[in-house]
């Protein structure tokens, strides 16, 4: 499949409006969309089977359909550009190299749900990406693709950038809305869903960058064409990020027929330094880890779910045989502990417990019953929080112990890390 989302990312100035108009038939999809009814666009997106690319995989057409269009209140699109899931960097590429595709997607989305304003919530650390987007937005306004009476259609649309300030939880849709409103990025209870009461209490659709980038493709070439690209119910092009112990880390575009093995050994060139694969997390750190005998599965939503994990954000973190699995779980729990918003007791308190216990085991100070305690505490977090962060924090513990329990027991029995590596700190942080 020829790249559809990232066809020109290696060429100079591919981020300019000029390039977009010349090379990709830029903004033709918007033109076509403005000649359709909003209902027809939502139908097309539903037909395409487009599933959210942020991690949850919720059908986008359905999400847009749920937006309350009967109310007098203004509606909003919030583009979730807060990419912070460990192992994920696909939105980074899209925004930096193909920003107009995103802007076109936002504009079409606004037209479909009857919104006049879209906010792109971009993580604070992406200032260089923000500058590219600022330029692209200015170009789009100047070219008449944004602003008043777009392409003479009578449709008005404004896109504003909103800079975040370092909070992974701001990637959760209701927490993102809270952050946009100027508060702590803490999630809300759902229902009500953003489709009914979101930003400023108005109907809102929160969509990932990559999801919105797929919309112009669907409008231009039709939902059926899109759905046929890839396995059934897992249609459309997908960006996969591969990082860790591989020869060629990077972002690769393909259909969801592509297997995890193809991504690791094909696109990413296999394991570096002549080592062996030990483990791979296929969808960003919040999904269960896979063993080497489990990688012959398509990297699709359904394929990976059948394999006991998830596609999530498609951030593949590849680990070779110098990687200690207890250390890996500890590294991720440090992330979840730090990023916990603190609202729900199980996540806030339990996350700290999980990290401390993992640290003890890693340093060889653990007891055998700590492993059961880890599982028990993780079980008390997963499914018992306001948002999926709790499940995500429990997953590294539950999945890694399930797949690599012998390594945890070895640490306890031998009173030391049984898989040290020369690329790790010489003086680890103390257990207490």
């Amino acid at each position: 499949m020829d790249p559809l989302l990232t066809p020109h990312v290696r060429e100079p100035r591919s981020y300019t409006l000029d390039f977009y108009l010349r090379q990709d038939g830029g903004y033709q999809a918007l033109r076509k969309a403005l000649g359709m009814t909003p209902d027809a666009i939502i139908d097309e997106v539903k037909k395409s089977g487009l599933r959210g690319r942020g991690g949850a995989g919720f059908p986008t057409g359905m999400k847009w359909q749920f937006v309350d269009r009967k109310t007098d209140k203004p509606r909003y699109i919030c583009c979730n550009a807060d990419e912070s899931e460990p192992g994920t960097f696909k939105d980074h590429v899209l925004m930096e190299r193909n920003p107009h595709l995103l802007l076109e997607g936002c504009a079409i989305g606004c037209y479909a749900i009857g919104a006049k304003v879209a906010y792109i919530y971009i993580r604070g650390e992406f200032l260089h990406v923000q500058h590219v987007l600022e330029e692209a937005i200015a170009e789009a306004y100047a070219g008449g693709y944004l602003g008043r009476n777009i392409l003479g259609s009578g449709f008005d649309c404004d896109i504003y950038l909103h800079r975040g300030a370092g909070a992974y939880e701001a990637g959760e849709e209701t927490a993102l809305i809270e952050s946009l409103e100027g508060k702590r990025a803490q999630p809300r209870l759902k229902p009500p869903f953003p489709a009914t009461a979101g930003l400023y209490g108005c109907p809102t659709a929160v969509n990932n960058v990559e999801t919105l980038c797929n919309v112009p493709l669907i409008v231009a070439r039709g939902g059926e064409w899109y759905a046929a690209l890839g396995p059934e119910k897992n249609g459309g092009p997908k960006l996969f990020c591969v990082s860790g112990h591989v020869v060629r880390p990077g972002t690769f575009e393909g259909t969801m027929h592509t297997t995890v093995r193809e991504l690791i050994y094909g696109h990413a060139g296999g394991i570096a330094n002549g080592r062996q694969l030990k483990a791979v997390i296929p969808g960003g750190s919040s999904v269960p880890v896979l063993r080497p005998d489990q990688i012959d599965v398509p990297a699709s939503f359904d394929g990976l779910m059948k394999a006991g994990t998830m596609l999530g954000s498609a951030g593949m973190i590849v680990m070779d045989d110098t990687t200690c699995m207890v250390w890996m779980a500890e590294n991720l729990l440090h992330f979840y502990r730090h990023e916990s918003c603190g609202k729900c007791t199980p996540c806030r308190e339990g996350g700290a417990w999980l990290l401390n216990m993992l640290r003890k085991i890693e340093r060889g100070e653990g007891r055998l019953r700590d492993i059961e305690l880890l599982l028990s505490v993780a079980d008390n977090i997963a499914g018992k929080t306001l948002c999926a962060f709790g499940d995500a924090a429990a997953t590294p513990v539950l999945a890694t112990i399930k797949q690599f329990r012998d390594e945890f027991e070895a640490h306890v029995r031998e009173g030391r890390c049984t898989c040290p590596a020369d690329w790790r700190a010489r003086q680890p942080v103390a257990a207490h």
């Binding site: 650390e125 800079r163 860790g244 973190i317």
Partner: protein, 200 residues
């Protein structure tokens, strides 16, 4: 923060715990910054000025380097919310500093993909070269060393941010040299975000 007898109190407070920020010098936005704030505030509905609070706080850091209690009160005044609302927000987001920092803040990504490619050793190298522990500023006030979570460029690990600038593929053995380069040339010494493509 946890009161279980077997749970040690942590030395670093979680973002859900409160600590009073230092007062700092009296603070008012420069007219130019106030102007920029008002311009951004027009991106949101009139009654939702609070949406521009993150932008206001970035302006404070641009002007003063960190966010003091005085600055928080000024922002509260400008926006029309309470100082507690501002402190709520400042204490939550990782990019806001509640005490003075060095001229350059070295933010080393420590999450899995960068750690797999030696980020822990990068932090150690910086720590040794500067004679500081993570979270501290060196004696000359030039560098503050912190660890941050996934920066979203995992294919170019290890990644280090210096203030708002980016440096990628930093090997531990090159860490000390980077410090010298930054001392000499500031943020121009950073690799920036990797472009295989010439940036026109």
């Amino acid at each position: 923060m946890s009161f279980h007898p077997e749970m040690q109190y942590e030395t670093a407070l979680h973002k859900s715990a409160r600590r009073l920020p230092p007062e700092g010098e009296p603070f008012t936005f420069t007219p130019e910054r106030r102007q920029r704030f008002e311009e951004i505030a027009t991106h949101y509905p009139q009654e939702q000025r609070r949406s521009a609070i993150l932008y206001a706080l970035f302006l404070v850091q641009e002007q003063q380097g960190w966010i003091s209690a005085n600055a928080m009160r000024h922002v509260a005044e400008v926006i029309g919310c309470t100082p507690a609302d501002v402190e709520d927000v400042v204490s939550y987001y990782a990019m806001f500093y509640r005490q003075p920092v060095g001229r350059y803040v070295l933010q080393v990504c420590r999450t899995l993909s960068c750690a797999l490619r030696g980020a822990e050793r990068v932090t150690e190298a910086f720590s040794e070269a500067l004679g500081v522990k993570v979270g501290e500023t060196d004696a000359t006030g030039t560098f503050t060393l912190v660890e941050v979570e996934c920066l979203g460029a995992c294919d170019r690990a290890p990644v280090v941010m210096v203030n708002d600038g980016w440096h990628e593929c930093l090997k531990p053995e090159d860490a000390k040299q980077l410090l010298d380069d930054v001392r000499a040339r500031g943020e121009a010494a950073l690799s920036g975000c990797f472009h295989k493509v010439e940036k026109a």
